[in-house]
Structures are given as C-alpha cells and as structure tokens.
Amino acid sequence: MSIFGALFVVGVAGYGLNLINRSSYVTQANVAIEQPVPFSHRHHAGELGIDCRYCHTSVEIGANAGVPPTQTCMNCHRQIWLDSPTLEPVRASYRTDVSIPWVKVHDLPDFVYFNHSIHVAKGVGCETCHGRVDHMNLTWQQNSLQMEWCFDCHRNPERYVRPKSEVFTMGWQPAGDQLEIGRELVKANDVHPKTDCDTCHR
C-alpha cells in the first residue's frame, strides 16, 4: 500500500470512529429509555402543567435535581388512578418500602461533578439542556452531554441564558435576538462560567 493509501485508510478510520463517538449509540441522545413505570412528562409537566420543581425538589439548592420519592407519586395517586395496573410498581414500592429502580436518562460519567443549582441560579433553563421535556412521553436525553457540548455554553453563555423568571418555563422564546438579550443577561446576572478543569473534574 502506498503512503497515500495508508493515510487515506487512517483518515477514514479516524473519521468513522469520530462519527461513532458522537452518535446516539454512544451518547444515548434521543434514545427514549424504558422505565419500570412508563412515567409521562408530557402528561404531568405538559398537560397538567406541574412545575418541574414539584418533583425535582433540590434543583435550586443542590448539585442533584433529585428524583422524587415514591411518596410524591402517591400524593396524587392515592386518590386518582388508584387501581391502574400501570401504577402497580409505584404502589408496590410504597407498600414494601423498596425504591422504584428508575433507569438514569442523563447519565454523566462518574468523573464529572455537575451542579444544577448554580446553572438554575444563573438563568440556564431546564429545557436548554433537557429539551422539551413537556413533550416527551418517555423521557430521552435531548443533547449529547459531551464535554464539547457543555463548553459551547460555557464559552458563550449569551447564546443560551434566559431571564431567571423563565428558567422553569417550557417553550420560552426570546423576545428579540437571543444574543443581544443574552449579553444583557450575562452582564446583569454576573454570568461568567468557569472553564477550568476543576469546575467539573475533581
């Protein structure tokens, strides 16, 4: 094989591996995950209009947004859909005091330490990273969550920030040009995301 041929093979191999690495096979983006109970965000957050924070209670004060305890489900479901067979795993969990084993949709690697509260406090909307959750029957990961994707915002926050009052709104559109509004918000809310390695990797 000539040098040219060798370079061509290596180049194609590299390009192929890169494609694989960014594919949804690896990142699990856009793959709806099967859960022990087919919880529908579209119904609860979309149709019923329940605020994200009703269930994901620690998103403003902690690193993890939190998955609600069975108690939260039972708050309503001890009164409605009492006998639904779909909800039997929830009732069983409540009865037997065994957690519901949800499958993690947004699974960052263990060497990444992500903190929700600072993002929410600085005007990053839920839907910016998680997509239109209120349209998802089964939840999927909207974005790749790869470091390159995080850096897109960390280096240019004006592209993605929104007013603090709109963080939990689904379907928010900027009133004018996102970049203009973004720059204003960056100044007003003192948004300067860190790009040091120790921000996430410790």
Partner: protein, 999 residues
C-alpha cells in the same frame, strides 16, 4: 571473560567495592581509561553478570523483548477502542418516603463527642445522606475549639471497619440478644443470695454520668459486687502524686495561654493525652514571636513532639527524671536540700531554669509526664504551688472520673479475685484486658476460672475469644451516651447512623444487667429528664444540648489545694526504689501515637501515619540512642532480645538521635493477635515482657543481639537538610533584630523571570501558610486529609518502597549533634505553584492551572506517565502504582467522601486545596451574588490542626487571614529559588532560648 591462557582456572572474583574505590580517584581521561582496563580484566564480566543480571528472575518468561513489544503494541491499539463503548446503564434509587432534612449531595452536621479512655472530645460530624464521613472539632467545645487529633479523625474509619464484630456469639454460635439477656439474668439471679459476691464488672475509665448511674444501681442491687476500671491512659501516678503532695484526689488542668515558662518533666502534653488538642491550641497562641513568646523546657528520655518544640531540651533517662525534679525542687528551695551528685550539665540547666521560673511566678507551669513516677507528680504539685501557679496557670479540680481508682491496682484486685476462684460472673465492657494487661498478671489464665464471662467490644478480640458471650459494641458514632471532656464539660453523644451490626453500647448492656433492658436513647433521655425535672421544658433543653454539643457550665470548678504538711516524707516513703537503678538499661513503655494501647490496631490510616519522630509505619521498634547503638554494636532493623525478670521479647531496633543513652523506648499496642486483618501480627507485643509494678518504666533490662534483622518501613530515612534552607529557624533575638531573616537566607528570582505569560487572577486566588513556629508534627492534618479525600492505605511493603499515598506529609529533620539535636517538623502538601514544573510536562494535559491559582489534577485524562512527579521538586505527587483502593468491601464504600473521586490505578494524585470545598463555597456564594467570605472555605488540614498552624484563604481578599500571614516577615517559600512561586508558603520557626543557656 575467563583467562584465555588457561580456560580451566577459575576467574578471580572482582569486588564491586574494589571497583568503586579504584574509579573514585580517577578523573577525565584517566577515568575512561580505567574503565577500559577494567573491562579487559579477568572477572569483570562475571562481576557485571552478578551485578546486572541479564536474566533477572521475573523476566525469565518465554516471551522475549520483541514479542513483548508486539503484544503490547497490539493491546494498546485494542485498548484505544475500548473507549468507544458507551457507559453501562445506571439506576437511580430514590427514597420511598424521603426524610425531612436530607438533600442528596448536601451534608448535614451533627454535634457529638468521642470518648477515648472515658474522656470525651467535642466533635461536629459531617453526614452525607445518613452516613458520617468526616469528623471535625466542635468550635464551641472547650476541649477542642474546632480542632481534632489524629484519633478523632481516624475514628470514622473504625465505624466502617469490616472486621468489626457483627453478631452476638456464644461458644462459636450466633445467638440473639434475648438469649444473652436470659443467660445474664440467670447468672445474676444466682448471685442474689450472696449479694453479688461473685459478680465483677470491668470497664474502661468512666466519666459518663448516665453510665455511672447504671453501674451504681447495679452495685446497690448487689452490694458485695465490685466495679473495676482498666484505664489505658496512665493516670495512676497522677492520682498517687496528688494524694502524696496534696492529701486529696485532684485532676490538673493547665492554662498554657497564660504561661510564660513551661517545664515538661517527660511530659508529652503537646502530642498525647486527653487534653492534647486544647493544650496545643493554647500553647500555640503564645508561640507567635510578635506577642510575648513563651519558653518551653523539656526533659525527656525519648524525643517527642513536645521535646521537638522545646526551646531547651535535655535527654535524661526516664528513671532519672525524678532525680532531676528533686534537683529542681532543691534549687528553688521547695525541697529542703538539693540531692547530691547532681551532674554538672544538669546543674547549669537547673540553675537557669529555676531562675526563669522564679522570674515568672504565677505565669509558669511544671508539667509531669503521665507515665512518670508518682514522685514526679507530687514534686510538680509542690513546685507549682511554690511558684504561685495554682489558680492561675495550673487549675486543680475534682477528678473528672465518675469513680477515680488506681487502675493497675483495680485490675490486680480483679485478677487476684479470679485466681482465688471468687469471681463467678464477669462482665468486661468496652475493654480488652487479655491484650492490654501486663504479662505478670496472666489475665487469660485467671480468666478461665470465671464461671460466666461476657465481653462487649468493637472487635472479636483476644478477650472475646476467651469469653462465653461476646456482644458487638456499638461505635460511638452509632450510640447514645454522655461523656465528660478533660475539664469536665458534659456532652451528650448522639449517633449519626443506626448501629450497622446491631451493636449495643455499654449503657444498654448495663441496663440489661440491671434487669431492665432499654435503648440507649431512652436511658440517656430518662437520666437527663430526671436531672432537669426542676428546670422544666426538658424537650427544648434536650434539643438545644444536642444541637450545641455540650451542656454549658458543667466544667469542673477549680479546687483550692495546698501541700500537706509532710509531703516530702510521703514521697520518700512511697518511693519504691525499683526505678532507682539508673545504671544499666531501662525500658520505657509509651502509648503509641497511632494505635494508642492497641485499640486502633486495625485502623489502616493510623497504622500508616508515620510516627512523628521516627517516621516509622506499621511496626513498633525498640528506640535507642546512637551512642547506645554504637556501644552495643547495633544497627537499624537489627533484632534484639530484651529480657526483664525472666521474660523475653524479640524486637527490632531503631536509632533515634536525641534518645537518652541506655534507655529503650517501646510502644504498646502492637503484636495483636485478634485485631482484624489490618492489625494482626503488626509489630511486637510489649505486654509480653511488661510487669504491673514496672508498667511504664522498667529498670534491670538486658539486651542481647540476635543474628536476625527485621525490615521496618519508614517514610523518611534521610534526616538532614543538606545545607539547604528547607526549615528556617531563628532565635527570638535574631528575629527581633531581623524579622525577615527567613527571606534573607535564600535569594528568590525576580517576578518577571519566566517565559510564560502571567496568569491574571481576577477572582479568588487561593493560598495557604503553614506556621512552623507552632506545628509540632502531630499528624492530625495527615489523617484529616486521608478522611476528606478518600486516600488509600497501601500497606507496609509499599510504604517501604516509598509509595505511601498521603497527600500531605510531615518532614522531620534533625539538626546539630546527634546526642541532642534540634528536631523540626514541616508539613508538605502540594505547593500549588504558580510556575508549576509539573504542568508543563504532562503529555496529555491532565494537570493544568486554574484561574484561581490551583494546580488542577484531572484523573480522567491522566495516563500515568509520571513525568509530572518527576518534575516536581517537592515530590508531593502520589502515584497509584496499584489499585490501592478497596473497591469491593461494602462497609468501606460508606466511609468515602462522595464529593471526591475514588482513584483507580495508573493515575497521579495530589493535594487539591480541597477543591471540593472551594467549589461548594463558590457555588453557594455565586448563588447568593456575593464573594466567598474569609473562613467559608477551610481545607481539611487547616480545620483539623490543633495548633492552628495552617491558614488557608483568598489572597485577593486583603482582609483575609491568609493575606495577613503572607505579609508576615517570617513568610518564605520552600525551594523558592527554583522559581516555582508556590502558593503554599511557610512562616519560619522561632525559638525562644534562654540567653543564659547556650543552646
């Protein structure tokens, strides 16, 4: 190459030493020529083959180098592809009913106290989702003021120790608690008739009011029974000394804050003892050269951290310390006359010391060593009274123990009763006498005579093995109780986690013995409810007390004392003469700074923390002076046989400059047989040779060499600073004359002498100073860092290979003559250099500089080149040569701090300035739209340090403590001439020698 003329003659053997001596004097061309000649000499090839074997064992595989490279190349290529897989799916297990206060990821802090030998230290414990992970001192508690010692820091590992006993067992079978209570009731019922004549209880030293009440109730029910206490910490001399001098029982507290002159008579008050944390804190306040600096004189047989800190130190045999005390008392006129034959070097010292003490009457302290003779304690009392210190710097109080006893006598009484067959029922609660009692008591054999033996302990230990019943003890982090600290303040011990293994506390077993089993919670609440009945609003008081971690105003009140009329005669009468043999070898037993009396033998952090003076890990050794070693022709690691009253013990030797001649120091707590997987067989059991009447100092010891050696793992073999100015020290006079003496010693390069563009530190700029004037090398910071950062324990062999993983190490240097050197300590964490040599050589950019000045270590990028460690001049980077972490043991998973990565093999790690704490503080402050406040971020080492030596904070904040310490004239950087610009700098040490004494 054999002799070509005669192939059969054996080639003459060459000696490597011979070769070296030959080459040593050759230079230049002559050197190379000699090498050539050497190569042609017969026997050279044979020498080379011997010294550099071509086929070293281990490489004698069938695989040769070329095949090896091919295989590795292939697997490297394949390894790359493994990164192309995706993460396995993970589950989230939420609560079913979430507890109220817990936010996952946010720790809660609870106040409790840790009892050791019955004395408590006030603590705040960090709890992640219901599991305690880190211990801190309680800032409001007088015993700690926010700091902790190494034992408290390491205790959290003890909670999760997989070797803890987990089940109630009897005769090898697992039994339920109800079976034990039934058997106990039966055994006690048989005692009712005789009023409990055959009933004995053996506990540790007890200060707990609730437990004292329980025991009193039992003793009332069985009036002929006895309660014995076996206290690991030597307090008998103190008790007898107080009786002899004062005629009453008294415990002594010291106010080092108010003392200008302190004399330590073989007393390691800065390094050990229940009051160590508070003493070190108070003492260090007076160690700042700016204010009025105190002066410490120490007389000791073996170097301790107190002696290392002293301005004047004298090495004196332990058995001669009483003589020294008499000489001092004579000089001060406290004793009617001075003893005869005071050696001239003592005399000069004592004269100067006495003068200094007289010049600071009422502002001085004479501290007697715990394990010294009662005479020394009595003399110390007399001296303190004569100097007017009592009531000012020396406070005498009622004993803090619930029932003060002479511990050794108490144990001996029990043994005698057992031997006479008088004991039918014996309850041993939270104590391990079979392992910790001296050999002459023969506790194990006597124990066999007891009809019903029950043991409560954390481990299925040596004592448990010989008992009918063993009940697992609940760790203090799992149990309810109460305890007094050294000065008397009562804290309620509250658990941070339900007992992992259904353990029972001493309180609960006593309640069962009293016939009314209750939970510890009910017992403590009932006791205090009763006590506080009059005051009303008990619930509010209870919640406040649990929140605060102490009951205010419960410290013991000072007691007025005075010497009794014939105190001198009492001392002379009580002097048993056994220690008078100051000729010949003496053997001094000390509690170990790692395992104490052996109770922490299974704690890997403590075993691996290098002992402050010797830097030994994982073993004890017979410590001797260099002169004694030369006289007896001993080297480090030689095994010797010690004989005392017919009992023999083989122990390796370690030479310690500054040890008194003809004095051997041996640490207790080693040679355990049933400590657990970590502690078994580590070191040598000093109790095999120890006798009860010479429990701390034994004269008449003989030493015989054996042909064996025993490897000892030390983290620092090299003692010398080699003329480099690593630890910079000056006398107070020199400091006053030139405050910036530390910086004058070494010239540092100009700020702009670098090719790299400067980092603009616009936000925070983290920095740290370590004050060498107050650091004593106690290891609290080392263990605190271990606990905070999930640092693995590597074991003795790896420590011997230099692979210990502690992110902060304490270097110890000897300076001066070997008979009495100056000893200095220097904690060395990562310097977080602004011009880091490690950052520029990482081929994969795994270590980079952050915008706040930290040298970040990114474990997921590191491939293990180790170039960074190679380039680090401070050698603070630790490499995971193997998978040192335990990834499988379930209970240890609970112990880990979830905010810090658990590192696998092949990655480099180092101190991160507790970046997880910085991150948390930054996020909270940015959420609240403010800057990080000074004191909001405290690194684990700074928080633990009892001396307050370590100060951490934001250099960009002009009001921060660290900005002020950096501006101190004593501030200097370690190896600053290398232009690394470290963010961690040191405040040079200052000593305050007496101008009348030369050194």
């Amino acid at each position: 190459m054999s002799d070509p003329t005669n192939p059969t003659t054996p080639t003459p053997a060459l000696d490597l030493e011979q070769v070296r001596t030959e080459l040593a004097s050759a230079r230049g061309r002559h050197y190379w020529r000699s090498l050539d000649e050497l190569a042609n000499r017969p026997g050279f090839d044979a020498l080379m083959a011997r010294e550099f074997p071509r086929q070293a064992p281990g490489l004698l595989d069938a695989v040769d180098r070329r095949q090896f490279m091919q295989l590795m190349g292939a697997s490297l290529a394949l390894a790359g592809l493994s990164a192309c897989t995706r993460q396995p799916a993970e589950t989230i297990m939420p609560y079913v009913k979430a507890p109220e206060d817990i936010i996952p990821g946010r720790p809660l802090y609870f106040a409790t106290a840790m009892p050791i030998g019955g004395i408590g230290t006030g603590l705040l414990v960090e709890s992640h989702m219901g599991r305690p992970t880190k211990i801190e001192g309680n800032p409001d508690h007088p015993s700690s003021l926010g700091a902790t010692d190494a034992f408290a820091q390491a205790s959290v590992l003890g909670l999760y120790d997989p070797d803890r006993s987990q089940v109630i067992s009897s005769a090898g079978e697992i039994r339920p608690w109800s079976a034990f209570t039934a058997a106990l009731d039966q055994a006690l019922a048989a005692q009712t008739a005789s009023g409990g004549a055959g009933l004995r209880i053996l506990t540790d030293n007890i200060t707990s009011p609730t437990l004292a009440g329980q025991i009193a109730a039992l003793l009332t029910k069985y009036p002929n029974s006895h309660w014995h206490q076996w206290d690991p910490i030597a307090r008998d001399s103190a008790r007898l000394g107080a009786r002899m001098a004062l005629g009453v029982d008294a415990d002594v507290r010291y106010r080092f804050v108010d003392a200008d002159v302190v004399v330590a008579l073989d007393a390691d008050f800065l390094g050990s003892g229940p009051a160590q944390v508070r003493n070190l804190r108070d003492f260090s306040v007076r160690r700042k050269p700016g204010g009025s600096m105190n002066r410490l004189y120490a007389v000791e047989s073996s170097p301790t951290v107190t002696g290392a800190r002293a301005d004047h130190r004298m090495a004196v045999k332990a058995s001669a310390v009483e003589f020294f005390a008499w000489a001092l008392a004579g000089q001060l006129g406290v004793a009617p006359q001075k003893p005869k034959n005071v050696p001239p070097e003592y005399a000069k010292w004592i004269a100067a010391l006495a003068k200094d003490l007289m010049a600071h009457r009422g502002r001085s302290i004479v501290v007697p060593g715990d394990h010294q003779s009662p005479g020394v304690h009595a003399l110390a009392h007399a001296l303190n009274i004569a100097l007017g210190n009592v009531g000012k710097t020396v406070i005498c109080t009622e004993p803090v123990a619930a029932q003060p006893v002479y511990s050794m006598a108490s144990l001996k009484e029990l043994v005698a009763a057992m031997a006479a067959g008088q004991v039918d029922v014996l309850l041993m609660l939270g104590t391990n006498p079979v392992a910790t009692a001296p050999a002459d008591l023969d506790f194990a054999a006597r124990l066999e005579k007891v009809g019903f033996r029950a043991h409560l302990g954390l481990y299925d230990d040596e004592t448990a093995q010989l008992c009918h019943w063993h009940i697992p003890e609940a760790h203090y982090l799992e149990s309810w109780g109460d305890v007094r600290s050294e000065e008397g303040t009562i804290s309620i011990i509250q658990p941070l986690i339900a007992p992992l293994y259904d353990g029972k506390s001493v309180l609960e077993v006593m309640a069962a013995a009293n016939g009314r089993p209750q939970s510890g919670y009910d017992l403590v609440r009932a006791f205090w409810g009763d006590k506080r009945k009059a005051a009303g609003d008990f619930d509010r008081w209870w919640r406040t007390t649990l929140h605060d971690g102490l009951i205010p105003d419960t410290a013991l009140a000072p007691k007025a004392i005075g010497v009794r009329s014939n105190w001198i005669d009492t001392i002379i009468q009580n002097h048993d003469g056994k220690q008078d043999d100051t000729e010949g070898l003496e053997l001094v037993y000390r509690l170990d700074s790692g395992v104490l009396d052996g109770r922490f033998a299974n704690n890997g952090w403590l075993q691996e923390a290098p002992r402050p003076i010797t830097k030994l890990t994982w073993d004890n050794a017979a410590l001797i002076s260099p002169a004694t070693a030369r006289r007896l022709k001993l080297q480090n690691e030689d095994v010797v046989e010690l004989t005392h009253r017919g009992r023999k013990l083989e122990v390796p030797v370690w030479i310690v400059p500054g040890n008194a001649d003809d004095s051997i120091t041996l640490a207790l707590g080693y040679g355990r047989k049933r400590a657990g997987r970590v502690g078994d067989g580590v070191g040598v059991d000093a109790n095999l040779i120890r006798t009860s009447d010479a429990a701390w100092i034994a004269a008449g010891v003989t030493l015989a060499k054996t042909p064996r050696t025993y490897p000892l793992a030390t983290t620092q073999e090299h003692h010398s600073m080699e003329g480099r100015h690593l630890v910079r020290e000056a006398t107070l006079a020199e400091y006053t004359h030139e405050p910036a003496f530390a910086r004058e010693l070494v010239e540092e390069p100009a700020k702009d002498m670098t090719m790299y563009p400067p980092h603009p530190y616009e936000g925070a700029a983290w920095g740290m100073t370590i004050d060498l004037a107050s650091c004593v090398g106690c290891n609290a910071c080392v263990i605190a860092c271990n606990a905070e950062n999930n640092i693995p324990v590597v074991g003795k062999e790896q420590v011997a290979a230099g692979r210990e993983m502690q992110w902060i190490r304490i270097d110890r240097y000897f300076e001066g003559e070997e008979t009495n050197p100056t000893i200095v300590h220097q904690p060395v964490p990562c310097m977080q250099c602004e011009n880091a040599p490690c950052e520029v050589v990482c081929p994969v950019n795994a270590t980079v500089h952050s915008s706040e000045g930290l040298n970040d270590m990114v474990y997921n990028r590191c491939v293990g080149t180790k170039y960074c460690s190679n380039n680090c001049p401070y050698k603070v980077r630790r490499f995971n040569f193997f998978k040192y972490q335990d990834w499988t043991t379930e209970s240890l998973k609970l112990a880990r701090n979830p905010d810090v990565t658990v590192r696998s093999y092949g990655v480099m790690e180092k101190c991160t300035y507790c970046v997880q704490r910085i991150s948390q503080a930054r996020i909270v402050s940015r959420r609240e739209d403010r800057d990080v406040r000074d004191g909001e971020v405290v690194t684990a080492c700074a928080q633990a340090c009892p001396a307050g030596s370590i100060v951490f904070g934001d250099l960009n904040d002009p009001e921060s403590r660290v900005a002020k310490t950096k501006a101190d004239a004593r501030n200097y950087s370690l190896l600053g001439d290398l232009n690394t610009r470290p963010r961690t700098t040191y405040l040079a040490s200052v000593r305050n020698p007496n101008p009348e004494l030369e050194s």
